[in-house]
């Protein structure tokens, strides 16, 4: 998959979770949970559906690194090159 294709898939899944947000104005570098107003259940659903759509499994410890659209796209793209990304222990706990 190209980065553009991954980005497209990420936005499609996001639209399914939060249909009212305007994808055109969504900042790819902003905190996604704040931008799209996702609570912890929404975010879990988002990550689960994203995993299904892209056939990847995110580790719990990776959740904290998936805070922006750009990070998510980069994470998925990196997996295609070199397997799963390393976990990161910093960041949001919820």
């Amino acid at each position: 998959m190209t980065e553009a294709e991954i980005r497209d898939a990420v936005l499609r899944v996001l639209h399914g979770i939060a249909p009212e947000i305007d994808l055109a104005t969504l900042e790819a570098t902003a905190n996604l949970r704040e931008e799209a107003d996702l609570d912890s259940f929404d975010f879990l659903n988002f990550v689960v559906r994203l995993g299904e759509a892209l056939h990847v499994e995110f580790a719990e410890t990776e959740f904290a690194r998936l805070t922006t659209i750009d990070q998510i796209v980069a994470n998925v793209a990196a997996r295609q090159k070199s397997g799963p990304a390393r976990p990161d222990r910093n960041g949001a706990l919820f």
Partner: protein, 412 residues
């Protein structure tokens, strides 16, 4: 014969629109069966029956907007109960006052006799149930049946007690178009958002007018709880992972088993225990507003069961498909605004409940222990409680119990 009436989904609800019947005359209705789809200010709800019987007649057509309490269908009872339950004279008198049908009360006295306590416990329970299906209460004999707002003012049910505002709705049903409009039309959704705002406004105004709130807060270190959760989640598939909110919810439910004075309702000048523990979760809606569906018997469910149910409830709160019983019988509310980053939330109690527990965001904070400073993941738990029903001392013990339970997450 019994009747199915437009249910009340809370203090703030005056009208409901029948969207469709899920039954027809001659059908046998069992407890829990979905009998109708109803649209209210808070959205679409499936009406689940709390009685059994055979549908006799449908009195309201789909598309009709009628006041809460309007008789919408009549049911025939398959088996009448001539049996007279054993009960003390005091219990009978209290049952009459509280409009409790003794045939529905489980006696705990000698030889199964019904005591006053049994009746009062049943009143607080069936009060909730009858909000969903008012036919479990005997209809007021002096009042003619039909769409009278007075039916919604029966003070024995918590939600009806809330509805007892002097400004009653007009008594005639208002027909409203041929059916539900398609969701998503801008005018419709704006109208819906305005109705939701009104519903919230009336509930919180009533709460602040009538409930003398007191507030307490305590910081809870979640180091053990989160470490345990991380280890548990490492064993699970992504879709089966458990969120910290589930541990917090279970801890509140278990703490209530020791401090039942925060689980229930303040009605007619007295505290009425909730009996079971049904934790209401404040869920914000993407289109604005919020809704508080309940997780039934929260204290008796495993962490995995709770995770599944909470995910399902949040999804249905947002996408539709909540049942009336889930909307009417919460015995306490939890709000979890911390999801969006605020550290503390002091909530407004949802009347006639007597308590609301708030959790802020989990953040790493400095904490002194044994003379040493450390950094620990911490959440601020708050309690807003009704001072008529409890005092601050008990409230403090209740919050401390939640804290204590969260220090042994494997036992939750």
């Amino acid at each position: 014969m019994s009747e199915f009436r437009m249910p009340s989904l809370g203090a703030d609800m005056e009208y409901g629109t029948l969207v469709e019947w899920r039954m027809k005359p001659g059908d046998e209705i069992h407890r829990g069966a979905i009998i109708a789809l109803v649209e209210t200010q808070k959205g679409l709800f499936e009406v689940d029956s709390v009685v059994e019987g055979i549908v006799e007649r449908l009195l309201v057509d789909p598309g009709s907007r009628v006041p809460v309490g309007t008789v919408m269908a009549t049911l025939l009872q398959p088996v009448e109960k001539p049996h007279r339950p054993r009960a003390s004279p005091l219990a009978r008198r209290v049952a009459e006052e509280l409009h409790v049908d003794l045939a529905t009360v489980q006696g705990t006295g000698p030889e199964g006799a019904i005591t006053r306590d049994d009746v009062e416990a049943a009143a607080s329970q069936s009060g909730m149930a009858s909000a969903a299906e008012p036919t479990s209460l005997p209809a007021p004999k002096v009042k003619p049946p039909g769409p009278s707002p007075a039916l919604a003012l029966e003070p024995t049910t918590p939600s009806a007690a809330l509805a007892a505002e002097p400004s009653g709705p007009p008594a005639t049903p208002e027909p409203r178009g041929p059916g539900p409009a398609a969701a998503g039309e801008p005018a419709q959704s704006a109208e819906r958002a305005a109705a939701m705002r009104q519903a919230i406004a009336s509930a919180v105004a009533r709460s602040k007018r009538e409930i003398p709130h007191y507030y307490l807060a305590t910081d809870i270190v979640l180091e053990r709880a989160l470490a345990w959760l991380e280890a548990e989640n490492a064993k699970r598939a992504m879709a089966d992972r458990v969120l910290p909110a589930v541990l917090l919810t279970k801890a509140v439910a278990l703490a209530l088993t020791r401090y039942p004075d925060f689980n229930g309702y303040w009605i007619d000048g007295a505290f009425r225990p909730g009996g079971s523990i049904h934790v209401g979760l404040a869920v914000s809606l993407r289109t604005g507003g919020l809704i508080v569906p309940a997780v039934h018997d929260t204290d008796r469910k495993s962490i995995d069961e709770l995770m599944g149910e909470m995910r399902d409830l949040v999804r249905r709160a947002r996408e539709g498909g909540l049942r009336v019983s889930e909307m009417t019988d919460a015995t306490i509310t939890i709000t979890n605004l911390g999801d969006q980053g605020v550290e503390q939330v002091f909530g407004v109690i949802y009347p006639p409940q007597v308590a609301l527990v708030g959790f802020g965001s989990v953040t790493e904070r400095p904490r002194a222990e044994n003379g040493l400073l450390g950094v620990r993941p911490t959440v601020t738990a708050t309690l807003a409680a009704d001072h008529r029903a409890s005092d601050g001392h008990r409230g403090g013990l209740f919050l401390n119990e939640i804290n204590r339970l969260l220090q042994t997450p494997e036992r939750l």
